[in-house]
């Protein structure tokens, strides 16, 4: 079974600075997807960024980018120029076919 591990329960960053959230996963599959989802306080979960395992190039979405290390089974999220609105729980997720699993989450606080 696939597992997803987020080893940082909480993190904080000053506004405008850069922060990196870590995620590792375990799978025997070769073609899969990895995701970072954001869950703001009392609001619904939304997709931040997605990486296809067969692509070597790291995904980028505006201020959000990932460092995907397939051999190491590592998938970190970098948030540049952090904004107050980035304060949320961030979940790393793995999917293979239609199976989708989540990590325990990292609570990120952006400080003014």
């Amino acid at each position: 079974a696939q597992t997803v591990t987020q080893s940082q329960p909480e993190m904080s960053v000053q506004e405008a600075e850069t922060v990196t959230l870590s995620c590792t996963y375990d799978t025997s599959e070769n073609n899969y997807y990895l995701f970072w989802y954001k869950q703001p306080p009392s609001r619904q979960m939304i997709l931040v960024i997605r990486q296809e395992a067969y692509k070597q190039q790291n995904a980028t979405e505006n201020r959000f980018s990932v460092n995907f290390q397939k051999a190491a089974k590592s998938f970190s999220l970098k948030i540049s120029d952090s904004q107050l609105g980035d304060t949320a729980m961030y979940f790393c997720a793995f999917s293979f076919l239609v199976d989708m699993r989540f990590g325990a989450g990292t609570r990120l606080t952006v400080k003014p």
Binding site: M45, V98, M100, F102
Partner: protein, 115 residues
């Protein structure tokens, strides 16, 4: 495009009572998930449907939880009888269902408190 709709948003019940949650996925989405999110934890998959068939219910406590997705559209999740440890947010998500999850869309969840 309408999102995933869930109701109710909040529910408080006493232990041993029963409760039901409803989910309406995005139109055309074949895959539907129910997740349980206990405070401070990540979502845990309870059950997954592909159209009206169950793909995975290995983590569903079947002695008290049940779910159905009649006609492959709306879904209901029921707990009977509820226990204190069932207090959590129940998230419904849907996905197009092309054979690989490329993006799951989530509802706002139902926060259940069992007292």
């Amino acid at each position: 495009e309408a999102g995933v709709a869930q109701s109710p948003r909040y529910k408080i019940i006493e232990k041993r009572q029963s409760v039901a949650f409803w989910c309406n996925p995005i139109s055309g989405h074949a895959t539907l998930y129910w997740y349980q999110q206990i405070l401070g934890q990540g979502p845990k998959l309870l059950i997954q449907f592909q159209n009206n068939g169950v793909v995975d219910d290995s983590q569903l406590p079947k002695d008290r939880f049940s779910a159905e997705r009649l006609k492959g559209v709306d879904s209901t999740l029921k707990i009977q009888p509820a226990k204190l440890e069932d207090s959590a947010v129940y998230l419904c998500a849907s996905e197009f269902g092309g054979g690989t999850v490329t993006e799951a869309f989530f509802g706002q969840g139902t926060r259940l408190t069992v007292v």
